[in-house]
């Protein structure tokens, strides 16, 4: 028999701190923690309106944050965690926004509700997840944007919370469990989710005793779930009359709420904010009418959009977090790493594009490591309407094709303008999957699908006046084409419209000059060997490749002064070296690639492997390079060329004075034969020794 005090849940909750609402914190830090706006944010994010408000009727009206969907909570959660959570949410997770509902009630409620929650299972099959790496998980967490919101929302005890494999499942589809969309779906891959889980939940403790389902207890829990008000937040099924407020100092807003009243652990400032907001609403809880701009700001506060985006001068990555916003293309600068400001977004985007973007789809900044997530249907349907209402200007200056249909843009004219003979847009921008010739800014073929034509035109006319256009040159300054010799002549609108038309049809058009005429850059030795210096995989950053007309190719590593690779067939493609700024490691084009590193070296007998000093090469009359390097006081000249049987012959000439014995050593890899045998000593005659090696494979 348990002693009495344990059977009743303590009235005073653990000191878990006040509920943590990012949008509220943002206002509080700006000095507005007690104001009506802060109170409205709390009314929504603490789901006060679940009991005290009505569901909004207009699609553009603000909705409050509903609780997680518990219909499959039994799959997801560990019994021990559910018990602890119900017994005092803030003690389990400081800053929890779910109120403590059971304070001062008999402990049986905890057990019955736990039974009920755990009974709610989907019956789906458990799929074993691939293991993840915590190190990679931390990297992902800090780069894709998780940390932008979770800077203040500490993530602890997730291993204790989620059943085995369920954290991964949650991360893959967070909107299933949390339909309110405050936690976006960042479209993590299964592998990424596994890495994240390995870092977020390194320990998965087993429950001390197995959970035994108890149907009677679960049924009692089901009844309590409805009667205590859990369902109001978690299911929002029942249309119910709002509970009016009677006393701004009592109820949930009392400093010490009575038993049976939800305990949020509100700070004094939060209570003041709520009182201010409620007083403004009046006892009928009539929602204040908000202008579109204010409604957008409210939404951005509630979803913490400001963690990444600016609008109307507020928000954006904080100085502490800014270094974590990175790009794979660093010299795009901040435009490549920071999510764009949302000023004017309602005028910029076509509504369908905006809806897709809010679902985290159709992004074009693929070099930006932070991701735009899917914030759920609710936001994707409401925010575009609000943005359009706030940002659209009327009347727009009409597009040229509307004014004079004969002047509508022409595909072929746009092609010329976009290409290298025109304004060379492709010098910086990708185009329909073609890499750009330069910095790799976003794909232009996506622009007409996303952007409103009027915005696109005005942006191109004066890019610097838009926050995302600061690195974009003005090709039509003050409405005048920089190059009136291009199609469209002196008519900027006409040139721009041609660009729009061409980009719209880019998928079915000829690539522009500069992409279309990009020849194959394969190097084909014809009558003489080709020497080509670049980065080569398996050789390194000091590679000097030699391609022979006979169809055998070699590569020398000038860093360590040794032969590194040989292969047969095609030589190399110079395209990466010649055209890409990020010089990739080139790959031999041919086949039969072998490593030459251990296929023969000269050493001083009895001494450790020497450091060879690269001195350069000379081209002999037949075009074959002879490499020169130093071994102590000796100079080695090294000529390697194909044999008639598609092997290699190497002539080594050693000159200089030495009293030591110089030995040829070789440990060729499997499948490679070298002659002479390892251990052959060189014989010097007049300060010169020569040795010929045959390599076949």
């Amino acid at each position: 028999m348990k002693s009495l005090p344990l059977l009743w849940l303590a009235l005073a909750g653990a000191c878990g701190g006040a509920p943590m609402v990012p949008g509220y914190e943002r206002l509080r830090q700006a000095g507005g923690g007690a104001g009506a706006e802060a109170g409205e944010v709390l009314l929504s994010e603490l789901a006060c309106l679940a009991c005290h408000g009505e569901r909004p009727a207009a699609p553009t009206a603000l909705d409050w944050k509903r609780g997680p969907d518990l219909s499959a909570a039994g799959d997801r959660l560990r019994p021990s965690w559910v018990r602890a959570w119900l017994a005092d949410p803030a003690a389990v997770s400081p800053g929890a926004t779910m109120p403590h509902l059971l304070a001062g009630r008999p402990y049986e409620f905890v057990e019955d509700l736990t039974q009920y929650v755990l009974s709610r299972q989907s019956g789906r099959r458990v799929v074993e997840q691939s293991p993840g790496s915590a190190k990679d998980g931390e990297e992902i967490f800090k780069s894709i944007g998780c940390i932008a919101c979770h800077r203040d929302l500490p993530l602890k005890g997730l291993g204790e919370k989620y059943a085995h494999g369920e954290l991964v499942r949650f991360l893959l589809q967070p909107l299933l469990a949390r339909p309110a969309g405050r936690m976006p779906d960042l479209h993590t891959t299964p592998k990424e989710a596994a890495h994240l889980a390995a870092w977020l939940a390194p320990v998965e403790p087993e429950d001390a005793k197995p959970f035994v389902p108890d149907a009677a207890s679960a049924e009692r829990g089901r009844v309590a779930f409805a009667s205590l008000g859990c369902a109001a937040c978690h299911e929002r099924a029942a249309e119910r009359a709002p509970v009016p407020w009677r006393d701004l100092k009592g109820g949930c807003l009392a400093e010490n709420p009575a038993a049976g009243v939800p305990r949020y652990g509100l700070s004094e400032e939060q209570r003041t904010a709520l009182r201010t907001a409620l007083a403004a609403r009046g006892p009928e809880l009539k929602a204040p009418a908000l202008e579109p701009r204010a409604a957008i700001r409210r939404i951005m506060l509630e979803r913490d959009c400001f963690a990444c985006h600016q609008r109307e001068g507020g928000g954006g990555p904080s100085p502490e977090l800014a270094p974590l916003f990175t790009s794979t293309r660093e010299d795009l600068g901040d435009l490549g790493r920071f999510p764009p400001p949302l000023d004017g977004a309602g005028r910029k985007f076509q509504p369908a594009a905006l809806e897709a973007i809010l679902h985290g789809k159709g992004g074009v900044r693929n070099y930006m490591r932070v991701r735009m997530g899917d914030f759920g249907d609710d936001l994707a349907q409401r925010l575009p309407v609000l943005l359009a209402a706030a940002d659209l200007v009327a009347p727009e200056r009409p597009m040229i094709g509307t004014v004079d249909p004969s002047k509508v843009g022409r595909n072929e004219a746009g092609r010329e303008i976009v290409g290298t003979g025109g304004y060379a847009c492709i010098a910086c921008h990708e185009l329909h999957g073609h890499p750009s010739l330069g910095i790799g800014a976003y794909d232009l073929a996506e622009m007409p699908k996303r952007l409103r034509p009027e915005w696109m035109r005005d942006f191109l006319l004066d890019p610097a006046s838009y926050p995302t256009g600061t690195r974009m040159p003005a090709f039509w300054p003050d409405g005048k084409p920089l190059n009136p010799k291009l199609p469209g002549g002196k008519d900027a609108d006409r040139q721009i419209d041609s660009v729009r038309v061409y980009l719209t049809e880019a998928d079915q058009s000829i690539p522009p000059p500069g992409l279309a005429d990009e020849a194959a850059y394969e190097l084909k030795p014809a009558d003489r060997p080709i020497v080509f210096r670049t980065f080569i995989a398996g050789v390194g950053t000091h590679a000097i490749a030699v391609g022979f007309p006979a169809g055998v190719n070699t590569a020398f590593d000038a860093l360590e002064a040794r032969w590194a690779l040989a292969w047969r067939g095609r030589f190399l493609d110079a395209g990466g070296t010649w055209n890409q700024r990020f010089t990739k490691m080139e790959q031999p084009l041919g086949e039969g690639v072998i490593k030459l590193g251990d296929c023969g070296a000269l050493e001083i007998a009895g001494l450790p492997k020497p450091t060879l000093k690269f001195r350069g090469y000379r081209i002999e009359a037949d075009g074959v390079p002879v490499f020169s390097y130093g071994l102590g006081t000796l100079t080695i000249e090294d000529r390697l060329e194909p044999t008639d049987s598609h092997g290699l012959r190497r002539k080594l000439r050693v000159s200089g004075q030495t009293n030591e014995q110089v030995v040829f050593t070789a440990k060729p890899p499997a499948g490679v034969t070298v002659k002479p045998a390892s251990g052959t000593a060189l014989r010097f005659k007049g300060g010169v020794a020569e040795l010929t090696e045959e390599i076949s494979w």
Partner: protein, 557 residues
């Protein structure tokens, strides 16, 4: 004796003083450049034009108060307007003292000129980014037509410099300095000797190596771009450092903290400089003095500061997010540029530094540096002086309208300037993606500010042609001082802006040197002087109305 005369910096022309002041302020914030380059600026030519259209009213109003001829002023303004609006390129104008011609080259050569070296016998060697060196036999061919070319070397890894020294060509590839020699006299290099190597090459993009430049002692100078982005191997030693390579091939790092040091120049005194580009840790471009132990600002270099032979140690507390003068004070190894090249106003991406050592064959700028400009396809100009033992000075626009981004420059035997161009990787103004051009001077001096020197209480501006007191009085002289924040982010705005008052206190008897008194010079700040409506005694309008002086130190009285 020179009569003293003065005016205030805020023009008061009749009524509407507030409006005209605002107009002037806006004008000051917006650089006025003629030609295509200005199209990159926040405000385009049309706006500039509008401002100038407003100017006759002011000049007209002033006529009553001065002896200046209204007709003369109007004519001047009309000239200015024509200059601004008639053409995209100054160089197209028949009256321009400088003119650009393009050199022919074989159609199958991708002449992305990345190194230029004058050779004996009136030849010119040109390195190209695709790893070859070509020799132009007759680069001075009239109008660039009929130039004969021969390939001298190939197989190099993106050479970004070329020098001729002691009978051989030297070039810097990604991973080494290479000496190229033709030992059998067939006109093609057959000896590729490693002259220096050993710096880190991780393969990350942007790891360019530039040079070499030879000093009078026969040392080679090489600069290494800092590493950006991911790399496949971690070796990044000495990225962002300058190296001095002695004739025996031994080298040591001299200074570090470089971002994109694509130009190296040595002045008449033998001091070595490099050009820097705007980006991380650099809110503007700059011309830096390379000297032992200098840290030029980009903190990626701290990765090598612990290596043996490092020219400086990583500070215990690296400084960030403070104004430049403050960063210099708090972190003594940090040496800001001798001359800032304000972003957009004086280029967006400085490249080569070439010393005008033509003895006047290229105009009145002997001893000054010309600075290449990639994005805006232009050339700017830098005047340097020593104050309190350190270099500082002013920069000016020089010319624009090149066909492509300017990467390399080399003076020819006749004092004309060869200009090597490429825009691969970034965009640039112009009509071509690469090429070789030549700038010719017609022997008539342009009307420019030849130099701007710091004085204890102001500046002395020396012009290339005399001005009259009346013309000086008719012009507006405006000053704006500001600095940048020292921070890791990519670029940044002017901060701490002031518009100190300027008074003309003296004009030399020959009419060439105007002495300005400035209220409140600030050490460590850029002082931008904008002169509107100044004409030389012969009627020529001032070709480039802005001068940007980096006042690292104020001279002692």
């Amino acid at each position: 004796m020179v009569t003293m005369f003065e005016w205030t910096s805020a023009p008061v022309f009749g009524r509407g003083g507030a409006a005209s002041t605002r107009c002037v302020e806006a004008a000051l914030c917006e650089p006025r450049r003629t030609g295509a380059a200005s199209l990159f600026l926040d405000s385009g030519p049309l706006k500039t034009l509008k401002k100038l259209e407003a100017a006759p009213v002011r000049l007209g109003s002033q006529r009553a108060a001065s002896t200046h001829s209204y007709d003369g002023a109007l004519a001047l303004l009309i000239t200015l307007l024509i200059c601004l609006s008639a053409s995209l390129s100054r160089a197209d104008q028949p009256t321009d003292p400088y003119r650009i011609i393009s050199l022919d080259y074989p159609p199958d050569v991708t002449l992305e000129a990345s190194g230029l070296a004058r050779l004996p016998g009136g030849k010119l060697a040109v390195a190209i980014r695709r790893g070859e060196v070509w020799v132009a036999e007759n680069p001075y061919a009239p109008e660039g037509k009929g130039v004969r070319w021969k390939r001298f070397a190939s197989g190099l890894h993106e050479p970004l410099g070329l020098a001729f020294h002691d009978g051989a060509l030297y070039t810097t590839q990604r991973s080494e300095v290479t000496r190229l020699r033709d030992t059998n006299g067939d006109g093609t290099a057959d000896e590729y000797t490693c002259a220096a190597k050993g710096w880190g090459v991780s393969g990350a993009y942007h790891e360019y190596a530039y040079g070499p430049k030879f000093d009078s002692a026969g040392n080679m100078w090489v600069t290494l771009n800092c590493t950006m982005g991911d790399s496949f191997v971690p070796q990044k030693d000495w990225r962002g450092f300058s190296l001095r390579i002695t004739p025996d091939g031994a080298w040591k790092p001299v200074s570090g903290g470089m971002r994109s040091p694509s130009g190296i120049g040595i002045n008449a005194a033998g001091d070595v400089f490099y050009s820097e580009q705007q980006g991380n840790w650099n809110c503007g471009g700059g011309v830096h003095h390379i000297r032992q132990g200098a840290f030029h600002g980009h903190q990626a270099s701290f990765a090598s500061a612990g290596l043996p032979g490092a020219p400086f140690a990583k500070p215990a507390k690296p400084v960030e997010r403070v104004p430049i003068p403050e960063a210099e004070r708090l972190m003594p190894i940090y040496k800001p540029p001798a001359v800032w090249l304000p972003y957009r106003k004086v280029g967006m991406s400085a490249t080569d530094l070439v010393l005008d050592n033509t003895g006047g064959k290229f105009g009145p700028f002997d001893g000054q540096f010309f600075v290449g400009e990639f994005t805006m396809s232009a050339i700017n100009r830098v005047f340097l002086e020593k104050v309190d033992g350190e270099y500082q000075g002013a920069c000016f626009n020089f010319m624009d309208g090149f066909q492509c981004g300017v990467l390399r420059m080399e003076f020819g035997d006749d004092g004309s300037l060869f200009v090597g161009e490429t825009n691969r990787g970034w965009n640039s103004f112009g009509t071509r993606s690469y090429g070789l051009q030549r700038v010719l001077w017609n022997g008539k001096p342009p009307f420019d500010m030849q130099k701007m020197e710091a004085l204890p209480h102001g500046f002395r501006c020396t012009f290339t042609k005399p001005i009259t007191r009346a013309a000086a009085a008719a012009a507006q002289w405006q000053m704006r001082s500001y600095t940048y924040e020292y921070h890791a982010e990519y670029g940044g705005p002017d901060i701490d802006v002031q518009t100190p008052g300027v008074r003309l206190v003296n004009l030399s008897a020959d009419g060439l040197a105007a002495e300005l008194a400035v209220d409140g010079l600030r050490a460590g700040y850029i002082h931008e002087l904008d002169i509107t409506g100044l004409a030389a005694a012969d009627g020529d309008p001032l070709a480039h109305p802005a001068a940007h002086y980096t006042l690292n130190k104020i001279p002692a009285p």
